[in-house]
């Protein structure tokens, strides 16, 4: 790196030394293109005549890309339901206001158009600042990476969720883990009065690298997870210890619990969604239109934020979820370039005429 910085210096002294070595007596500067600043060069002069084609090309390209993006985005089907429980008519009103654990409420909704393709289910939070600086640093990645020492000695950055009152280490420590989203969902398709459970697949919802590299459980040969985590306590807000997050799948426990991983990848913006499940089973590639019932195990308090909770069902394309912005932006600026090109052309032509007349 320093070489880059010292380049001029080095250049100077290298010529100096070469002179010494060659015993060059005179002081005459080297007659090279570099030292005489005569390096062959491209000297563009920005003027309308030269850049006009560029405007048209960029304009056309942008419009093309914009149209493609809009079409792709429009093909994405997305369905969003809020279940915060604010307002008396909301099903979850009771759950939202009576903070009993595992309060259940249901949400009925209708999908008017059948959804083609694989569908992802997200939960969404608004006005939730996962990107708050203090919050964001309140974690111990080394503990989460399964380093045994840090399991019992969490980093200072976790404070005040580093140790509990009895000075037992908290695993996983920190504010992020402590505020782990703990609502649970079950989806049913209302098939002519008969509730058919839509299977939800919770595997591979987190980053592969998070699951396999960045996060791992502390390893201790011949002992199961609960033994490994012995001596630590669960985060204050948690109901279950970390080694018992997923009762159905013993491999999905500890620090590598996929829901946990998703939560730990803190959202960039205060209104965010996080992948909850992928719809699998019979409905994996097609969700028929009709009535659906969502059974919510309501645990997570958002009333004070004041924020909202929602679920989102969405198909994905190569460009991810539904987003019109990029397509519109490309279209608008493509057109702008095009129009600007025309204006420049007209002005330039007139200007040229004036100049010609002048001459």
């Amino acid at each position: 790196m320093l070489i880059v910085f010292f380049l001029p210096h080095l250049l100077y002294f290298s010529s100096y030394w070469s002179k010494i070595l060659k015993m060059k007596k005179d002081n005459k500067p080297d007659n090279t293109a570099f030292t005489q600043q005569r390096l062959p060069a491209w000297q563009p002069v920005l003027s309308v005549g030269i850049v006009l084609p560029l405007f048209f090309i960029i304009g056309l390209a942008f419009i093309g890309i914009g149209i493609g993006l809009l079409i792709t985005s429009n093909n994405i089907q997305e369905f969003e339901e809020e279940y915060t429980g604010i307002g008396d008519n909301s099903n979850c009103y009771i759950c939202a206001n009576n903070a009993t654990a595992n309060c259940k409420c249901t949400l009925n909704f209708t999908i008017a158009q059948p959804i083609q393709g694989s569908v992802f289910m997200y939960y969404g939070l608004t006005n939730y600042y996962q990107n708050h600086q203090k919050y964001l640093s309140s974690r111990d990645d080394q503990q989460l990476a399964g380093e045994t020492y840090y399991l019992k000695n969490p980093s200072q950055s976790c404070k005040p969720y580093q140790m509990d009152i009895n000075n037992n280490p908290i695993a996983p420590c920190g504010s992020i883990a402590n505020s782990f989203f703990n609502d649970a969902f079950a989806l049913y398709y209302n098939n002519q009065g008969f509730l058919d459970e839509v299977k939800l697949d919770g595997s591979a919802i987190a980053w592969w690298t998070d699951h396999n590299v960045k996060f791992s459980n502390p390893s201790q040969t011949g002992s199961n997870l609960s033994q490994i985590f012995e001596g630590t306590v669960k985060p204050i807000n948690w109901s279950k210890p970390v080694y018992n997050l997923d009762v159905n799948n013993p491999d999905n426990n500890g620090f590598i619990n996929e829901d946990f991983l998703v939560w730990m990848r803190t959202a960039a913006l205060p209104d965010f969604r996080k992948l909850y499940r992928r719809i699998s089973g019979n409905y994996s590639s097609f969700m028929p239109s009709g009535n659906y019932t969502l059974e919510i195990t309501y645990n997570y308090p958002v009333k004070d934020l004041p924020g909202k909770k929602k679920v989102i069902f969405s198909t994905v394309s190569w460009m991810g979820g539904k987003n019109q912005f990029l397509g519109i932006a490309y279209l608008v600026f493509g057109s702008l370039c095009f129009v600007m090109g025309f204006i420049l052309l007209i002005v330039y032509a007139k200007y040229q005429n004036v100049e010609d007349n002048d001459d």
Binding site: L39, P40, V45, S137, P160, C337
Partner: protein
Amino acid sequence: MTSVAPESLAAGVFRRIGAKEDKLRTVLPNLPFEGHRKKERPNRDYDTNIIKTTKYTLLSFLPKNLFEQFHRFANIYFVGLAALNFVPVVNAFQPGFSLIPICVILAITAIKDAWEDFRRYTADKEINNMSCLIYTSTLKDYVEKCWKDVRVGDFVKVVCNEIIPADILLLHSSDQNGICYIETANLDGETNLKQREVVRSFSRVETPFQPEYFSGKIICEKPNNDLNRFKGYLETPNSKKIGFNKENLLLRGCTIRNTGEASGIVVYAGHETKAMLNNSGPRYKRSKLERRLNIDIFFCVGLLVVMCLIGAIGNGIWQTQFPELPLFEVPDENGNSTPPALAGFYMFLTMIILLQILIPISLYVTIEFVKLGQVFFISNDLSLYDEHTDSRVQCRALNITEDLGQIQYIFSDKTGTLTENKMVFRRCTIMGTEFCHQENALRLAAHGEADSDEEDRAAPHRELRGRLKQNHGKQNQKNLRRCHSARAYYTGQRRKKSVGLVDSEVAFSSPLETDVTPDKKLLKIVREASAQMDTWCMDGQASDSSYIDFFLALAICNTVIVSTATEPRQRVTEPPMLKPSTYSLEKLHYLLQKLKTGKISQAWTSNQSNSDQSSGTKKAQAIADGTELPEGSWCEVESNGASGGCIEKSCSSRISMESKDDTQGITGEDHVGSELCYEAESPDEAALVHAAKAYNFTLLSRTSEQVTVRLPQGAILTFEVLRTLAFDAARKRMSVVVRHPLTKKIVVYTKGADSVIMDLLETPSREYPEEEKKMKRTAAKTQKHLDWYAKDGLRTLCIAKKVISEDAYEQWSSVRLEAETAIDNKDEMLLETALNLETNLTLLGATGIEDRLQEGVPDTIEALREAGIQIWVLTGDKQETAINIAHSCKLLDQKDIIYTINTDSKETCESILDCTLEEVLQYAPARPASTGVLNANIGFTSPPVANCPTFGLVIDGRTLGVVFQGELQMKFLELAKHCRAVLCCRAAPLQKSQIVKLVRDKLKVMTLSIGDGANDVNMIQAADIGVGISGQEGMQAVMASDFAISRFEYLKKLLLVHGHWCYTRLAKMIIYFFYKNVAYVNLLFWYQFFCGFSGESMIDYWMMIFFNLFFTSVPPIVFGILDKDISAEMLLDLPQLYKSGQNSEGYKWSTFWIAMLDAFYQSLVCFFVPYFTYKDSDIDVFSFGTPINTVAFFTILLHLAIEIKTWTLVHWATMAGSILFYFVVSLVYCATCVTCNAPSNPYFIMELQMADPVFYLVCFITPVIALLPRYLFRIMQGTFSQALVIEARKLDKLDKHKKEKVLRQWKTTLRASDTTSPRSDMLSPLSPRYITANTFNQEASFSLETDNTRHPGKWKVNGADGPQPPQSGQMESEHNCTSDGNADTPKDHSDAFCLGHQRSFSIMTI
């Protein structure tokens, strides 16, 4: 970048406390104390000879360097912020991290400093270990030791060509006269030899000097840095005091020449030597741009505070929307959240840490590197390299390169700066008769022509020289010399340092100066005069003998040192014949007999036959050249023209040759073919000696005791030199007191400025009215001639003599001796005694010496003026000379109205200034107040209408004194502002610097001073940029300067090209740097609106550091060093382009704020395009930051790409390299950092982003949107702007032919708009001007003198001619010469002289 002086000064202070308090230093010899313990040594308190110029030691480096670096305010700021980050409640990053950037910056600077210090260390070591001879009593001999072992009180012996290790009091010299010669080139660059004498009582010690028996005590001054001051006395055991002075001191760093060996006792050693005390490091100047920049830094600080306040307030408001502790709010230990107000305050500090890069941390380091690169390119410019002095441009100040592009006023010295300082004898007047030396003038004119086609012939010549050197070695030296004479331009006036070289230039004078063609009329008179020698022997007052006296004075009255060509530096101390006086006297009588019998002609015929010989050599040279020699051609012209007997001089370069043969014929003495070389302290002395030589008064040798001169007949006279009263500025003259060998009379020859000599002439006694009348007439005539000379631009010197009686001399001598031995008031006493002697002089005559204009000066001045630079000439010379030079170098135009102000009284001065100003304003109402604004309408407008005459102002030193004392500065400036050129004559060094300071401070302009001599040092230091010319007058100006060039004409490229480039490059780079930091930091700022103003950054901290330090640092540096907005050729062709720098167009208030606005806009785009793209998605913080970082990276680089005007391979490479580097580093970093950088730990983020097509879509559109306005603006500017810079850039792209055509067209337009063209109705009839002049003539008490004789027709021709050849002055004088026969008609003459100069009128008052 060390300055040694302060430290050694501090050391000196410290020592002073420890040592004695008195003002004197006592030195005892060390020998008796040898073997004693250190405590008992008498000189233990004095510095040893070890020098240490390093700043640091291995141990002290870290603390000391850090301490120094923290003198820079920015560094403290950043360290403070880094420390703040350790406070948990306010930290924005992991505590240690914010130390990284400042540490990198400090480390880079420290490495640079360490490297420089190491180089000094090795240099010191080398010097300390040089060997020298020190006397030890154990061996009773000198033994070889290192320099560092030399202590005060040691006896040191220095042999020939060795460097003196310390300041040594000279006690012994192998020279029988007790003289030792030293060369002070290492000290002050003066290459002539200087004499040093053995302390008085030690001279003429017949036995070898034995240090053991030295038993004196040396009392001298404390160490000081005045090279020219040293005095003290030596106290012998019997309390006798022997005085000594600087003539007895050998200075450290000088080289012993021409002396076998010299020994003495060390009085000052190491850092206390005068050389070391004089050695101060480069000064630190702050450039205008940097001053501007510092203001803008404060704007940035203001911006930062505003942004932090927004953050703090925003945080407070944000917190209030959460009545209870939300889940994501991290409480403190007690589970409480901080109250909003306090949180807001904490947030303010956090934000400062987060947004600190708004103050560009690496800007200062980057600027330093850029300037280093710029200095590299300036000093490597081949066209600023001077072949014959083998010197490049020296950039002594490293940090003001960009000031070169903003110069508005140039203050120039005249002698040696505008002129070559090669003195050429042109003409003389003896006893009231003028000899115009027409042949000499012709020769010089021809010389000028020969110069002009020098370019083509230079290369083969050099080749030839090399070949000849190899083949023939020493034998051919004479041929080579001929060669030189043909190409006088390239002959070295500077001797190469290595003595052994065969081809080394021995003389400092080129043939141009040494060859003087004698005036035939004068030659005849001299010949006749010397023929009547016998009468002269009897009676010194005989009229014709004045001619002999005149030339004798020229030959004797100087301090020239004679050496021979074959053995350089072998001083001729002995005349060739060993028994001088008696022998030559005999010969003289014999000769006189011979001459009397009418054989003069014969003698001269033999002379002519010698010329055959020289023409033979000429032929040889012609063959060697293989080309037709212009020399040959002018040779022919002359021999045709001058049918007299002195043709030989025209071709032969050495008069000594024929004079040698002359003497051969008569005395049979052979001179072993030695050519005499004269080494003089000032070039005019040498010129006079050469002139005397041309009339066969050849100075053969000189010692402090005697001087030997060969007379035309070959007789050799040895004068006993009784006293030499050296030249000093106060007396403005020098004198030599000699005893005439024939008459035995004591004669005083005095040579000096006409103004002083004329006042010292004897008042003839009333008894001889005839005599009196004659003398008065002679004086009057001479004065008249002197005036002509001055108007002709010649330097004048008067020669006078005085015969004093033996008694009077004895009397004076004793007083003088007293003065010389005195310690207190010595200088005053010496001056007084000198004044006592130099009275009642008899005027012999006067000489006119031409100082030729340097090549390219008129062009350079014209170009600089077109560039909008005001040029003032500040000179110590006479007014007439100065005006003349000003005309010939185009500083003043023929049609300029010149105001001359000479007055002593304040009132007159004020009224003159008022009236002149009034008049000037009347003429120039249409003239825009600031000349800077360039009329950009090249294409459209017709030539501007503003036509008014231009003015020149000439003011002399006395009047300047009045101006400064009488608070008339502002009036003077007001007037000067309206003048095209200002000439200050007879200005003292201090006045020069006063003027510079006045203009710099009052007009608030950028000033540049250029000069070559010690008298310019003040003004060089006073100006914003000091330029020294490394010419003939030593190195003092260079030492004081910021840039040193070897010729004035280099100033053109230095300013117009390098100045422009350096300024635009640096200005643009700085603007870009500000933009870059603001644009980048604002990304973080916008994010605060989405993260609850919590001070979170969405970009990984390492990436942020890398971004500034590595990804985007090299392209701006390359941009700052290499970018060329306009080609060098165009800048030289169109000097008007320089004005963009003068008006600070590259870095203005508006430029800065536009850049800021642009930065805000671009950062908004770079943030919000990704924001809207990733809104409502499941993106995480650092995945969100990666595309933002990437688009910002591309935007910032592409922004630079728009600004880069020249894309060379280096540009492409750094750009591509930066992009590649960014992706490689990001990918590698993201692939390896699993838990290395909590909390971001960007593991695999970049990889996943780069696998996502949206990332590319964002990266594609964002820079386009961000840069669209700027790009559009540049396109508009490039298409429709009339700015000269842009037009010129477009023109650069055209093909050569078309380019020239357009350029010519532009130039006429520009000139018309710039320098107003004369409008016929206003200028050609001069009457309107007179009317104005007359109106205020009535009220003012001065006379208006108008030149009515001027012929309008002639003027018209002058005006239309355009460039006038620089030799016009000469031509004119030659024109005079042709009508020289009627020397007694002074009226015509003066008019003829006037013609060239008194273009309008001048205001004269006494």
